[in-house]
Amino acid sequence: MKRGHTMPYEQLEDSFSGGCSSAAGGGGCSGKGKMWEEDGGVDDELLAVLGYKVKASDMAEVAQKLEQLEEVMGSVEQDNLSFLASETVHYNPSDLSSWLESMISELNPQDPFSNSSSSFPTNQVYEDSSSFDSDLTAIPGKAVFPQIENPAHEPQVQQPQSKRFKPTTATELSSSSSSSISVGGGMWGSFQSESISTRPAESTRPVVLVDSQGNGVRLVHTLMACAEAIQQEKMKLAEALLKQIGFLAVSQAGAMRKVATYFAEALARKVYRLYPSNPNDPAFTDLLQMHFYETCPYLKFAHFTANQAILEAFANKNKIHVIDFSMKQGMQWPALLQALALRPGGAPTFRLTGIGPPSQDNTDHLQQVGWKLAQLAESINVEFEFRGFVANTLADLDASMFDIREGETVAVNSMFELHQLLARPGGIEKVLSFVKDLKPEIFTIVEQEANHNGPVFMDRFTESLHYYSTLFDSLEGCGSGGELGPVSDQDKLMSEVYLGRQICNLVSCEGVDRVERHETLAQWRTRFNSAGFEPVHLGSNAFKQASMLLALFAGGGGYKVEENNGCLMLGWHTRPLIATSAWKLSS
């Protein structure tokens, strides 16, 4: 079953569970219940926006099913889940309830609801809640989240844990909660008050209070609430929430803490309008990227898959010219040079044109990199020529500058560069048109697989929170080189700084300054198709090589290569993070 859209619940679980088994599945539904109505009610708003139809009255049941599914999945051997993604057909995934049921029955052919919970009379829980007009329903489950006091009323006060929910507060909120998502403080209010109290006396399931988990979910919700406040220009409120985030973030450990810190910093910059004034020093960015290259497989995957596509496109050609939009330190090219050197039939002549930003300190950085590559090429007997172009932005270039010679086959390569062009109107169109003028045999692109370029700030914020949480999670697993401890810690730290800068730009900048405008593969596909390109499928060689490369990484269990209509995506567990695709001119 191909799912183009990951379940919000599972995303939260993956990103934030960090090893705690009773993850946010139960109460972490960021969806709130609507005003509970006797007749079973309407579909939950938030989930409906995402495409799922869940009645408010079914929320408890759905939560239970999610927990069961999680349990069943946990007890199944890791590899046996892959059939869920590929072979099984699940109908109507928007009907969350029956979809979960079918998944559970797939995994657990015995009666999935054989445990006592199935006999748990859901009505019993609602009996008490019907006494107050609340849009909050008690969702029984393994995790209980202590309620949070509405911070607008008492910014500095943290409620003690496990207090029973007060009906009065509920009525204050419920008046605004029936509004639709895009309007009013209702949404953030319900985020805050989404925490649920259960009635241990009545529930037939054991209830466990897990503090740090509660804090984790609260942290996420506070971050989102703060972003929402900023979107509505409620700066005082945002400031108050920022302080809360500070407290909550230090109570976390590991990836969650780091992600929260970076996002909090970015939000603070936005609130106080402290935009990073100096443009990013490219030498420093290169350095950070080198550490990122060393710590985790994303860049290596990108390089190796793109190289494989280029190799296959150049199978019989003797004069090759590669134009690299993202020269940096040239780490992609040694592997290609080596593969060309060992090509049956001899090495072709290889010409490389590298494009980079102007350097701050007057050194000709591109030339240095080119010189080193030339020395490498010479030692392995490949005829090599290098030319460097300095350009502030790719849109400044045009085809005539490249001096394409007679009989040359051209390839264009771009690693995480194209999304930056989306900051200025017309940029990407100009670049695509001059690439077409170059008549390349192949155009390889690697981009982040996420939509961080929507018009609504809140959407961008939420998307990027999930994306970077997953990314940081994968970094946690990347500790390598035990005996050379200090080096790897430094690498990891620098990688985190590298990602942190992206977060900062994405969240706090606007307009032409915001260059981290990531878009999904589907969006790029549409753009390329309408610009006159057609896809080139990456073959099984690329897939095998990528899989092998990932198997070599110590944290290897989490990384997954996926093939998506001829493009390869690298992800962490269920979430694809970067995508490689190749294109040629449509005939």
Binding site: Q329, M331, S547
Partner: protein, 165 residues
């Protein structure tokens, strides 16, 4: 005094024997005495070790490998870790019910693994060159790089033994 056979007098026999050892034993052999140490420095032994189980043997590789640092380094930095890791790895598409022993004891390695090892080796060379002997380029990134044979560059650090998380 009868004619005794002393292995150190028969270097060609010694080499033939050493050729059949696995990597670890070859390393141990290098510690036996000065003569054995000198013999095991010879790259052809390591070449044999790297590629004797590759079928068909790759062509033209020798010039490239020698240019990038030699077979001994190739073995230590790339081949040994790659083979070790991949032996425990179940490739995608293999029938999941295949017994563990089949996969774990794989000795022959495929063209893909050879290519991958060579690519990684080339990256290693470039990195050493970029940050080491190539002048001040790179701004001293990733401090702690050692110049010795055995240490691998940071980009291949992921092949070193990981700490169990």
């Amino acid at each position: 005094m009868g004619s005794k056979f002393f292995i150190n007098d028969n270097q060609d026999v010694l080499i033939e024997i050493l050729k059949r050892l696995d990597g670890r034993s070859l390393g141990v052999a290098a510690c036996v005495c000065k003569q054995w140490c000198a013999i095991t420095q010879d790259d052809s032994l390591w070449e044999h070790l790297c590629f004797r189980h590759v079928s068909p043997p790759p062509e033209g590789v020798r010039t490239v490998v020698l240019a990038l640092g030699g077979y001994r380094r190739l073995y230590m930095v790339c081949v040994r870790p790659v083979l070790n890791r991949l032996r425990k790895w179940k490739p995608i598409g293999v029938d999941q019910s295949a017994s563990d022993s089949e996969v774990v004891r794989r000795v022959y390695w495929t063209r893909h693994e050879v290519e991958l090892s060579l690519s990684l080796f080339c990256v290693d060379y470039y990195e050493r060159f970029l940050f080491g002997g190539g002048g001040g380029g790179g701004g001293g990134g990733g401090g702690g790089r050692h110049g010795g044979d055995a240490a691998c560059t940071s980009s291949l650090m992921f092949l070193c033994n990981a700490v169990n998380v």
